[in-house]
């Protein structure tokens, strides 16, 4: 049994935690360099301001009724790690999926699933102070859909449990769910499936598996099985480029050396960069996570760090450079590391590059270089051209005029408690 835990309006909730006067206000969080709106509170959504709208296009009258914050990835990353710590202490295994979502493996846990989910919501709300919703189902695909459903519930805790593939609520939901809401089913696939009368998740689920596999390939067949309640996808398979990209792998043998971890990270950065460019996307923020083996009796360490990019990028060399700097912060000597990964988020289409005054956009040379890089690797194999050692370079400050304090990571930016 799996759970998907998703923090509600995560960036906005983080802003409100230390600025309670923002509660009840329409709050929007802006992308890097304050370009456009990337997160909205419910009140902000109610004003009808769409996601992704460029900041300067919000009408002044409307803008006065809102509070706009620059994104504060340092704060979001720290709070995200805290949520994961609280959850990891309560379940057998946890897989980060994006900065505000993670999958939990609930196998072997005793008791009623509904109260288990409610307990997780309650624990995160009490200990970290952020609202989360929980979807519980036999597969990751269903858990994610259950989470969507939980979010639409009015009261707290927001928990939706589909204990088995034959749940009635699950049937009703899938029958009404368009294919576009299911992962791994891109637009082209949707059209092809539609030709065969498969227009909803429910229809896909009841199509014959062998036929699906012959006709549309193994990914579609697996998705159909997942929808039917049969687990066959790993968490990494689900990292669709729409919201985030995740590249990670467990090591066959634990790694202790900084240099070996760096090499693994280079490998993942190459993969992540490739995935980005394949879908013509660029990333606005990068995260690195690292952990020891929780099933072995060794000194445990689990940590992740996020950093914003000064300007969105799809440049493998640059992403790797930032990732290596994050690894330097995370890595501790003497520990046996078991898994490492890189996550990209705040994704946007590559062609809508927004020029930043402070940090240069991807230069045409960079774009050409990556084009050459990809075609060489496509033609001669991935091993033909790989990343060498990158020298960490200058720091990467970004333009963020309305950024809140880094309340949890800087001594000189701690929240003030009024005693007047």
């Amino acid at each position: 049994m799996y759970a998907l835990v998703d923090a509600n309006n995560f960036y906005v909730s983080c802003e409100r935690l230390f600025a309670p006067h923002l509660e009840g206000r329409a709050v929007g969080v802006l992308s890097n360099n304050d370009g456009c709106v990337i997160a909205r509170s419910e009140e902000f959504k109610a004003l009808g301001i769409p996601m992704g709208i460029p900041t300067h296009k919000i009408a002044p009258a409307l803008r006065r009724r809102t509070t706009l914050c620059s994104s504060n990835y340092t704060l979001y990353g720290d709070l995200s790690a805290r949520i994961q710590q609280v959850l990891a202490a309560r379940v057998p295994a946890l897989e980060p999926y994006s900065i505000d979502e993670c999958f939990l493996d609930l196998r072997g846990l005793p008791g009623d699933l509904g109260s288990l989910g409610a307990g997780l919501c309650e624990a995160v709300a009490r200990e970290v102070g952020l609202p989360v919703s929980v979807g519980i189902a036999p597969t990751r695909t269903l858990a994610k859909l259950a989470n969507h459903r939980a979010k639409r519930q009015a009261g707290r805790p927001q928990v939706c449990v589909w204990a088995h593939g034959n749940d009635r609520d699950l049937h009703a939901t899938l029958a009404a769910l368009p294919l576009s809401a299911v992962w791994g089913i891109g637009e082209r696939l949707q059209c092809r499936l539609l030709d065969h009368g498969i227009d909803t998740a429910g229809a896909l689920r009841s199509a014959p598996i062998n036929w699906l596999q012959r006709r549309f390939g193994v990914v579609v067949a697996r998705t159909a099985l997942e929808l039917a309640g049969q687990p066959c996808l790993a968490g990494t398979d689900l990292a669709t480029p729409r919201r985030s990209i995740l590249c990670s792998r467990s090591f066959r043998q634990a790694l202790r050396q900084r240099a070996s971890l760096a090499a693994a990270l280079r490998y993942h950065c190459q993969r992540a960069g490739e995935k980005l460019r394949r879908d013509d996307l660029q990333a606005g923020a990068i995260g690195v996570f690292l952990r020891t083996n929780p099933f072995q009796n060794v000194v445990q360490h689990r940590a992740s760090l996020w950093a914003p990019l000064p300007a969105p990028s799809a440049d493998t060399l640059y992403l790797n450079q930032l990732a290596q700097q994050l690894l330097d912060e995370l890595w501790e000597a003497g520990l046996a590391y078991h898994k490492l990964g890189v996550m990209l988020t705040d994704l946007s289409p590559r062609q809508h590059q927004q020029a930043s005054l402070l940090a240069p956009a991807e230069s045409p040379t960079q774009v050409q270089l990556m084009g050459a890089w990809d075609s060489i690797r496509a033609r001669f194999g991935r091993a033909a051209l790989t990343l060498g050692i990158q020298a960490p370079d200058a720091d990467w400050q970004m333009h963020s005029r309305r950024r809140s304090s880094r309340y949890t990571t800087r001594w000189d930016e701690l929240p003030a408690v009024r005693a007047r």
Binding site: P20, L94, V128, W411
Partner: protein, 147 residues
Amino acid sequence: MRLTHVPQCAARKSHPTLQRRGASGFPSPADDYLDTPLDLHRQLVPRPASTFFMRVDGDAQADAGFQHGDLLVVDRALAPQRGDWVVAVIDGELCLRRLDGRHQRRWLCPPTPHRARLPLDGESDCRLWGVVHYVIHGCRQAPPLNA
């Protein structure tokens, strides 16, 4: 499926090497008595996920031992009890107050006697944010506690 508790370590971990040899190669006689050095962070922050550092702003609670600029160690996982010092949200602001009363009838004591106490009954606009576990006060006439 085997259940394994995942121990959470904060960013810091100190573990003594098992054997320290002197220059001569003989094991040190202290090996059997090796202890980890005292780690104040571990002592004051047993639950890193729910612990937040904050700074006192103002001198209204100075008589109670909270002076302007003092560092508060606030733990959200602690269950608030009568007599606890807490961080509370009052009119959208984080405030330092003392908690009094029991069960359904609890209130925040006013910082000065002439002000009213604030009931925590769900109807009022105030709620608890976290429990102050420690306050750290620098004794020298120096700038406030910085890293």
